[in-house]
Symmetry: C2
Subunit: 321 residues, 2 copies
């Protein structure tokens, strides 16, 4: 599908945080002819500058020539920015980008966690679009990203955002059209907060357990005791969401958890992959977020606390002799 | 110290289950000149028959010549039997021993868990002495046992036992004297159930966590989140104990947990050692026992359930390709 407009919807796109997710979406847009700058770590950036980005997808290796920089100031001039940094880096990224973003820039948060769009909105002068990412990708060697499945996005209005920070419906539809030109399906959802919380809930139910046992999702689902543990996790997340003003329905939440093991039986969680590489994970923003938010709101979350503590314990050994 | 009686207090001792604990106490008694038969697995038994039991203790290797058999019928004729099988094997061991035990035999349960003495008492015709074991030992090569610390025992009356199954005070004092002849300190405690539950509580607070992270106790205690997790575990165990009719005081229980990390900083739990060797652990009788008993009694134990489920998940991988 080609961009049917005479002028492109967005003339310049920047991707802040060229990890697996950022590199994938950046490459998809660049392949469709859009001007995209990836902003990432030096080794990755240098490989892309030298050889283009290598996108392994559908059994083929695609070479995508595109701009890559390591300085966050490279967001300057972009009218669309995809923020793809890990949740722990959101505030720092916002502060680095803010001086270079105009009021008309559109900033999408393609991140896990339910708070990132709000965190960005506190620091940047432009509109922020919370985006739920459904893709299985991983970085390979520098300059290389591998796609395993899906790639669709869901977007909506920033929950609780100020008027100036919330994009209107026509703007969201513009994003749908723009990504459609790059074969990336985007849904506009009425309550993006529910969708972000549901993704968080699913991640809370799988990531730490898969990491601690170093086992794929089907192995978790095979044990009744683990399915029971996941239900305890779901109940705690729903209670914390409710206290945060987001109502998650129980049975669909449980179904969403069950569906993942059936749909991605061989998947190891990102936390499991980080642990296998002795790399700090996003656990502070998964079970750790639920534990922290639960404490703030007076909602007991003993199981999320336990899983968070166990992953932190393993991670405390990475620096050790 | 020598046995001061003209006739020995017990003429023949049998040890049912010559693992690390059974082999250690059997060897201590045999070294003191008592007649002891170890009953264990063929490889261990054959090594002992051939070369004697090798006891590595205090930087020295002691060779202890003693009887060893692999048939449980070898308890026949013993007037003192130490039951040292894992908790999961207690009922089977009781059924195997029962035909060979007389009414005057004294059967000590040197096992973890709070139910083993009662389980034994249901199947054997003799008196049963619940015994709390405080020793750090490990099996080495077949025929070899290594001692790392302590070695004392606590004994008491079987809680809730029938009159015929409960030893009187003079009998308990006889055990103190007998073990004293082998340099094994034995305390008679007024409420052995509290002592067994406290040991269980400490094991619940360390074993699974140390196993999942493969880390020694000091590393666990170094993280505030793990200390918080251990407190959650303690509260759940105390609630289950209370519902079981055993009153555990909170602060001494928390102190007992804290003391272990300070006293044995480099210790890996037995569950951690089993996991490292991909060998099924006693977790069903530690956090798994609390979870099961909690369900029976309507006491919520989400954290013990979670730890039990996680260890079972890891163990479910041992048979896999």
């Amino acid at each position: 599908m080609e961009n049917s407009n005479a002028t492109p919807l967005f003339r310049k796109v920047a991707v802040m945080g060229a990890g697996a997710v950022g590199s994938f979406y950046g490459a998809m847009l660049a392949r469709a002819g859009h001007q995209v700058t990836l902003i990432g770590r030096p080794a990755h950036v240098q490989a892309i500058q030298r050889d283009g980005l290598k996108l392994e997808m559908g059994g083929q290796m695609h070479t995508v020539r595109m701009d890559a920089q390591s300085d966050p100031a490279a967001v300057a001039g972009a009218d669309l920015v995809l923020c793809c940094v890990k949740s722990g880096d959101t505030e720092a990224a916002a502060l680095q980008m803010a001086p270079h973003l105009g009021a008309d820039t559109l900033l999408m948060s393609l991140q896990n966690g339910v708070d990132n769009a709000a965190t960005l909105a506190r620091h940047v002068p432009c509109r922020v679009v919370p985006t739920v990412v459904y893709v299985a990708v991983a970085l390979g060697a520098p300059g290389t990203v591998r796609h395993f499945g899906r790639g669709d996005l869901a977007i909506g209005a920033l929950p609780g955002g100020t008027q100036s920070s919330v994009p209107e419906w026509p703007t969201l539809q513009t994003l749908v059209d723009f990504f459609a030109s790059a074969q990336v399906p985007v849904r506009i959802v009425p309550d993006v907060a529910v969708e972000l919380w549901t993704k968080l809930l699913v991640n809370c139910a799988y990531n730490a357990i898969s990491a601690l046992a170093q086992m794929p999702y089907a192995r978790l689902a095979a044990l009744a005791d683990i399915r029971g543990l996941q239900q305890d996790i779901v109940h705690e997340v729903i209670a914390v969401a409710a206290a945060s003003g987001v109502s998650l329905p129980l049975q669909p939440s449980l179904d969403a958890v069950a569906k993942i093991a059936a749909g991605m039986p061989q998947q190891l969680s990102s936390t499991a992959q980080d642990m296998a590489r002795r790399k700090p994970s996003e656990i502070d923003h998964l079970n750790g977020f639920i534990a922290r938010r639960g404490r703030e709101l007076g909602v007991p979350t003993p199981v999320n606390q336990a899983l968070h503590a166990l992953v932190k314990l393993v991670e405390s050994g990475y620096e050790a002799p």
